[in-house]
C-alpha cells in the first residue's frame, strides 16, 4: 500500500527535486525550463519530446495518474499543460508544451494513457486543437447548430449579449 503515511513537507520537496534531477538526466535537452511553485513541479518541454517523457513516467511508476489536460490561450500561442500525479512519490508534475496558434496540432497520448481520451476531446472542442492519432476526435461539443470554426474558450471569442 502506498497511501497511508503522509510524507512531511521536507520529504515532499526532496521527492520533487529527485524527480526533477532524474528527468534532467534522462532528457537533458528536452527540458527547456523548470520551476517549483509550492511543491508543484512545472516543467517546460519541447513538443517533440513530451510523449517520450510521458511514456517514461508511465513505465517507471505504477500510479502515474493523469489529472487532466489544460489548454491556455495566451493570445500569441496555445499552452498545453499535462497535469500528472506520481503516486509513489506523491508529486504533482506539470508538463507544459507550446504550440502555434495558426495550426494547432499535437500528437495524441491516448495510446500511452487511455484516460486522456476524454480530456483531449474536451480541449479539442473548446479550443480547436487537433490531437493527431486520437481514435474518435469528432467536433461535437455544444449543440448541433454551433457554427464551425468558433471555439468559445479562445480569447478572441467574445460572449455576445445573448438574449
Amino acid at each position: 500500500m502506498v497511501a497511508n503515511e503522509i510524507p512531511s513537507k521536507e520529504e515532499k520537496l526532496e521527492n520533487v527535486e529527485s524527480l526533477l534531477t532524474m528527468l534532467k538526466e534522462k532528457f537533458g535537452d528536452a527540458i527547456l525550463d523548470s520551476k517549483i511553485i509550492k511543491r508543484r513541479l512545472f516543467i517546460d518541454v519541447t513538443t517533440e519530446s513530451f510523449r517520450g517523457i510521458l511514456k517514461f513516467l508511465d513505465e517507471s511508476f505504477e500510479i502515474c495518474f493523469l489529472h487532466t489536460i489544460t489548454a491556455v490561450d495566451t493570445t500569441s500561442e496555445f499552452e498545453l499543460l499535462y497535469h500528472i500525479f506520481i503516486g509513489e512519490k506523491k508529486v504533482n508534475l506539470n508538463l507544459r508544451i507550446k504550440i502555434s496558434r495558426d495550426s494547432p496540432k499535437v500528437p495524441t497520448i491516448t495510446d500511452i494513457m487511455p484516460a486522456a481520451n476524454v480530456y483531449e476531446r474536451e480541449v479539442h472542442d473548446l479550443f480547436g486543437i487537433v490531437f493527431e492519432g486520437h481514435p474518435h476526435l469528432e467536433r461535437l461539443i455544444l449543440p448541433e447548430d454551433w457554427p464551425d470554426g468558433v471555439y468559445p474558450l479562445r480569447k478572441d471569442y467574445k460572449m455576445g449579449g445573448k438574449k
Binding site: L142, P143, W146, P152, Y157, M159, G160, G161, K162, K163
Partner: protein
C-alpha cells in the same frame, strides 16, 4: 353540467402528478425537489406524486437555465404531456438565467423556450417553497380565487 365541471376541477386540484425535468441545473434544486418527497416534507399528503413518463404528468417542474443542448428535448417533453398542463420553474437560474446569464450555451430562463405558470426564485429554493408554489398553482385553478390570494398577482 356545472356540478360535473366542479368535480373535474376538484379532481385536478387534488391530484397534481409531477414530472421533473433537469434542463442543465446545478443539482441544488433537484435535490431539494427530491427532498420534498421524503418523510420530513412528504408531498404525497397533497396527492403530489413524481411520475416517470411525461404522458402521465400534469405539472412540469423545471430546474436549470435551459442549455442549448437540452432545449429541443424540453420542448418535446412539453409537447408530449397531455392537456391541461402546467409549468413550474424552480430556482433563480430557471427564472432569469441567474449566475449563468450571459453564457454562450444557456437560454437565460425557461420562459424563453416554453410558457411558464409559476416561478420559484431561490438558489436553491427550500422544499417548503416548492410545496408552496405547487399549492399556489392549484389555487389558481380554484373557482373562488380570492380564497388563497389569487390568480396572477404572484399568489401573495
Amino acid at each position: 353540467m356545472a356540478i360535473l365541471s366542479k368535480v373535474v376541477n376538484w379532481a385536478r386540484r387534488s391530484s397534481p402528478w409531477v414530472l421533473h425535468f433537469n434542463s442543465g441545473s446545478c443539482n441544488g434544486c433537484d435535490i431539494e425537489i427530491l427532498a420534498a418527497l421524503t418523510p420530513r416534507f412528504d408531498v404525497e399528503r397533497f396527492g403530489i406524486t413524481l411520475q416517470g413518463s411525461p404522458r402521465h404528468a400534469d405539472v412540469l417542474l423545471i430546474t436549470g437555465p435551459v442549455t442549448e443542448q437540452v432545449k429541443k428535448r424540453l420542448v418535446r417533453i412539453y409537447n408530449q404531456m397531455p392537456d391541461p398542463k402546467f409549468v413550474i420553474v424552480v430556482g433563480t437560474c430557471g427564472c432569469t438565467g441567474g449566475v449563468f446569464s450571459g453564457s454562450y450555451s444557456t437560454n437565460n430562463g425557461v420562459d424563453n423556450v416554453i410558457p411558464v405558470d409559476v416561478y420559484i426564485p431561490g438558489c436553491p429554493p427550500r422544499p417548503q417553497q416548492i410545496i408552496d408554489a405547487v399549492v399556489k398553482l392549484l389555487a389558481k385553478l380554484s373557482p373562488n380565487k380570492d380564497k388563497n390570494g389569487g390568480t396572477n398577482n404572484g399568489g401573495k
